[in-house]
Symmetry: D2
Subunit: 398 residues, 4 copies
């Protein structure tokens, strides 16, 4: 294993900026590139350079690199892993490519940020986690991109819960509702095939809700009961109708350490709901609600104030006092969805210089994969599943 | 002047229930009747009987009396004023009839509740107020029906302001928006003629907003600037097109004692707004907002809590701790618009037995008529008007 | 079996008004009494008289009878069943008393309205349903009080779905959230003992959500998976701490005829939620959402309009065009929670005169009891349950 | 006057990218820089380079230039106007500097974008407008930064009104509410002195509301009535208490061409309101409402659909079909406040290449200054003011 270029204890170390390469230039590649292009304009981060954008189509990736602020482009991800001037690999490629790239990059001493889900199979996710653990021992950092941990309102929610403002949390109600598959005529894509996508609404969006449940409370899922459904079983492909082999919607009921319950509903056919990740947390002393479509807002009820004046407060999470907000604009000038990626890069870069492992880790990603698998098994078996041990607790840092 | 039947200091006085007669059985008559029929089922009020309902059409009023819970009906309002078994006259007739009935009733020693506006002209309103003052000296009570003072959320708002929870109030933003005249083909009615209705949106609905501004803050309007507009100047009547001679919409900017400002907008052509009386109060330490279409809710912001957790709280004003609510249902079981009339009757009956003058008084009604007149004058003159004296302060009881 | 007094085909039949007796004067007795007292003031219903209110404590029931508009009071429910001048028995007593009273009343030829749940045990519910079927053959009507079917917004929702405005419904998301047991110090009551209450949040409030799911879609639950939880296992009783033997919260995932899914969450410890029955229905062509705390509103999204102008419409269900609303006030003058009972009495009385069986029937009530039992079994077994046959379809009338 | 470097009709013209210099690096400089840095990553715009950032403090401006993506920094704005490689001057300096810089830049053939307000005095604004007109004749473009015209929801609102979806607009209700001056202890700044800031809430934020009223409807204000108020008349400065010489709050009632009314309220002491620019437009066929704190949403009511299903639709203006949105993220992934500046730069650059004059023009800015002056005069005179002629109509392009 190579020593990471930027981990050098000698005086005068790290004389050059960190070199970054990103793999993938579709939706996630665009969002990550935007974060790299802007993070240093708002946050105090170590010097870095947007060196290479990697993609399969030479012309398209060159164009994307120019557009998104990368100095060069390349078509072979292995070439950037071999480069000494690259210190960070940001993997925005589809899930089935994650394991191979991430393991190679970590072995080469590169810090790795990988989009969720960690991998399409549990086996791959386990290999990746092992590779990350080994690399971490050598000062090489790794992180999985559950970017909604960096929504300021959700970061504030976590703080309030950690401070005991909700008392003991009893149950969480979560849903992630979209409607882009509502139309039965909408065409077949790789996202609707089990072999390329792993799963449907479950892995794609329920995973965010599951991560939040654990992130907000600091607890870990112990028991899962699930149901999956594909409403539109065939869709028009290039060679006629093709079978959809992933779920359109998923339901799960969980029980967590700390004796708290949680429900999750995920749908890509919830007509009229565009990108509505909703979370409600009920505790003995208070409650919180959130919706990603109004991500600058957190509703907080403090049950310790007199009943006469109790009510959910709409906190516009847009003040310098709020997580990440001091960097942006004056109060009330709301931020957008993409800013969560900028915060993620900020935290990842900070972890690299401080040497503290960033969160969420590959272990966290793997644990969520296990929960997703349990939901699927439960759905198939029509029974509730219980995890045998609770040792690998969800990491708590943010 | 007759001594009121029920004001008898001797032992054994008021051996019989209070006798009530209501005049008018249209919209307001129906709402008041509902309040009389139900008030004793929820509140602890002195015994009374729904004796007579008065209206011009003998058949219709008999039918309405039977339907709304009145023992008898009559066609001549003078007949009920002459009756010894009638103690209370509830005037729900159109505004141009108020003065004559109220003055006669008060002279006969009957307690009088009159719907707003007090009268169609200032001259009539002044005569009524004088009659009320004279009768009050004899223990005869009178009250004007600004029923929104009895919306629990607004009563709570007033309490919070009086307790100093908003600090010094700086400005109030009010509007009353409806759309029932939005359609230009909607027919001519007596409500659209100056001689029968007095004014349009100004007197009908802006008057409620003006009353609230003064009621909530305990202050009095000193300066008024206004604008009136009739968008649909002719409407189909029974003999062809007729001129609309009242305003469809009104705007006013006020300055009040206590150095606070207020704006009011009233419209009956605000397409899509059904019955939206909105009030926002901004003070140095907090703020309140309200909308009549969601009348069980009050939004309250306490600016003395840390900025990090500040926000408008949606208080569901539906707890036993809230004004009037103990009488109704368990928390969260919302009440409707008509309940404000039930509360009004409760407070009116209570005033009759305690002998304390109920609020709002005819003086309050007159003062609002003066404000409305000032808005109209200002609109005609295109200049701001200032009241010469501020002696007759708005009464503060509730 | 006696022939019902008012079912007489001969000329001159039913010369007297229907005689009504209500049993119970607590929360539900108060709400039903209010409906009886007011229904004829708003709706065109057959003549009836509020004859007797029945309760165990002679003094208290006499007082309640006077307050709520009943001519007499009584302490023995059997006495009113024996009376010839009583045609209707309205059962507002606790669930464990339903079966005995209802069966006796039906046998005596009295029309019966019974509060939900139908009974505390399936066995009792089955006996009641058999009695109702037998009585119905003799023209004696029976109905169970799922009053939320009479929320105008939900009645409108049902109409829109029946008209195909949502296309094929795919999934429903429902919750009923309250917080009156959130406080762990809140005392023990009969509602928290299995033997008196049957179940907790499941039977009390989830039952409403389950009824709505079937009512709105006209479909029937086939498969159930559930989870129950008692968070506060002991509460202070009169003789020290006592065991709570019903659930504080319940979760269920259902599959219905018509191949649609549904999730239900019910909680009495959802801090800050007062009476929030929420329903979301997602179909191929549109969607609907509702919350009981703002019961005058229905959110409707029509996915057949161009995407550019699509959005959830807040319909203020307060127009003469809307179910039940013509009877009340002009547009935008909102109604309260208790009005749903008035509508229920209206529909029940109408059914009695028309001879058409009212809905929901005892069969509907029984089927919901079966669903509740399936949720409980599933929770105990940690497995999903499937109903063996689907013959007893939910009735569809309103 | 110099010919603009990039206006060359010969073949091979504009072989180099447009050179941009920005003046000012405070709040607006940061927001404009962000737009320049990102516009080409999302929109198809002509090539340009972020060449120079200008500011008074050499160290600070050099740091800001590095942070915000500018190649160089400078301390003298005149130096950049002299440079041949600079084609565009983006003026983000305070209002009292606008006139001198803009006039010099236009005379030198530079395209000019200037932040609102156009200037602090009408005299300066008139000189600037004359300079812009002269330069325009030579192909030199100029634009004023009323960036809220580029909020997608407001751009959509304008389209819907222009398409007649609201029928004839009757009245508009606008407010801009903030609370950053609510605290009376908040210190004195240049924004609170008339000589540096021109006016307070009126010029700073009411101006946005006024621009929207005219932009959305395509009409022009003819009549104005106003009121201004300074609630906190002294604030702590560096040498003790200083007089605040601008308004904290402003109220105005307008009448427009097209016989429509409008009200505007602006406050910087509206406790709890952070950045709430609210606009409601009522027409004969529909209505629209908007709030800047939820800028991704537009509420639209179409009064031509049956009353039974009418309601304000919450359109999440986040679809590829919506103005500017195709460039950003998939549906439901909301954008932030700063994106409006990116859209503004896009439109400004497009205008430069197409040669079409961008909107809003300096003439538009001047006209708004005149409206603001009229409000101030009306407030001083306590009378309504009417504009003598209506010739300089508000420009309509977007």
């Amino acid at each position: 294993m190579t020593t990471p270029a930027n981990i050098d204890q000698s005086p005068g170390s790290r004389q050059r900026p960190l070199g970054v390469a990103a793999i993938g230039y579709a939706f996630m590649g665009k969002a990550h590139s935007n974060a790299w292009r802007n993070v240093a304009s708002f946050f105090d981060v170590p010097a870095f350079e947007q060196k290479v954008l990697v993609g399969r189509d030479a012309t398209q990736v060159a164009e994307a690199a120019a557009k998104y602020g990368w100095a060069e482009s390349a078509t072979d991800w292995r070439s950037v892993i071999d480069r000494e001037d690259i210190d960070i690999i940001d993997i925005c490629a589809p899930g089935w490519m994650h394991a191979e790239i991430a393991i190679a990059a970590l072995a080469a001493g590169k810090h790795v940020l990988v989009e969720k889900p960690l991998a399409n199979t549990l086996a791959e996710a386990e290999l990746m986690t092992a590779a990350a653990a080994k690399a971490r021992a050598n000062g090489v950092q790794s992180m999985i991109g559950f970017n909604y941990r960096r929504v300021p309102a959700l970061a504030l929610a976590r703080e309030l819960i950690a401070e005991g403002r909700l008392g003991t949390v009893r149950h969480i109600r979560a849903a992630y509702l979209q409607d882009w598959l509502s139309d039965g005529e909408s065409p077949m894509t790789w996202r609707l095939r089990k072999e390329t996508a792993g799963s449907g609404a479950l892995g794609d969006i329920a995973s965010h809700a599951i991560d939040q449940i654990q992130y907000l409370t600091g607890q870990r899922i112990l028991e899962a009961s699930g149901k999956l459904k594909t409403f539109v079983t065939q869709r028009p492909g290039e060679q006629g109708m093709e079978d959809v082999t992933v779920d359109d919607a998923a339901w799960a009921t969980f029980w967590l350490t700390g004796d708290m319950g949680a429900s999750v509903e995920a749908s890509r056919v919830a007509t009229g709901q565009k990108n509505s990740l909703r979370i409600e947390v009920y505790g003995t002393k208070g409650a919180l609600t959130f919706d990603l479509e109004t991500l600058n807002e957190l509703q907080f009820l403090d049950a310790t104030v007199p009943v006469r004046e109790q009510g959910f407060r709409r906190i516009l999470v847009n003040e310098p006092e709020h997580p990440y907000l001091e960097a942006w604009w004056p109060q009330g000038h709301i931020i957008g969805w993409e800013h969560t990626f900028t915060h993620q890069i900020r935290d990842f870069l900070t972890a690299i210089v401080t040497g503290e492992a960033p969160s969420p880790s590959f272990e966290d990603g793997l644990q969520i994969q296990r929960v997703l698998a349990a939901v699927e098994d439960s759905a198939n078996n029509k029974s509730t599943l219980t995890f045998i041990n609770t040792t690998s607790l969800v990491s708590e840092g943010a």
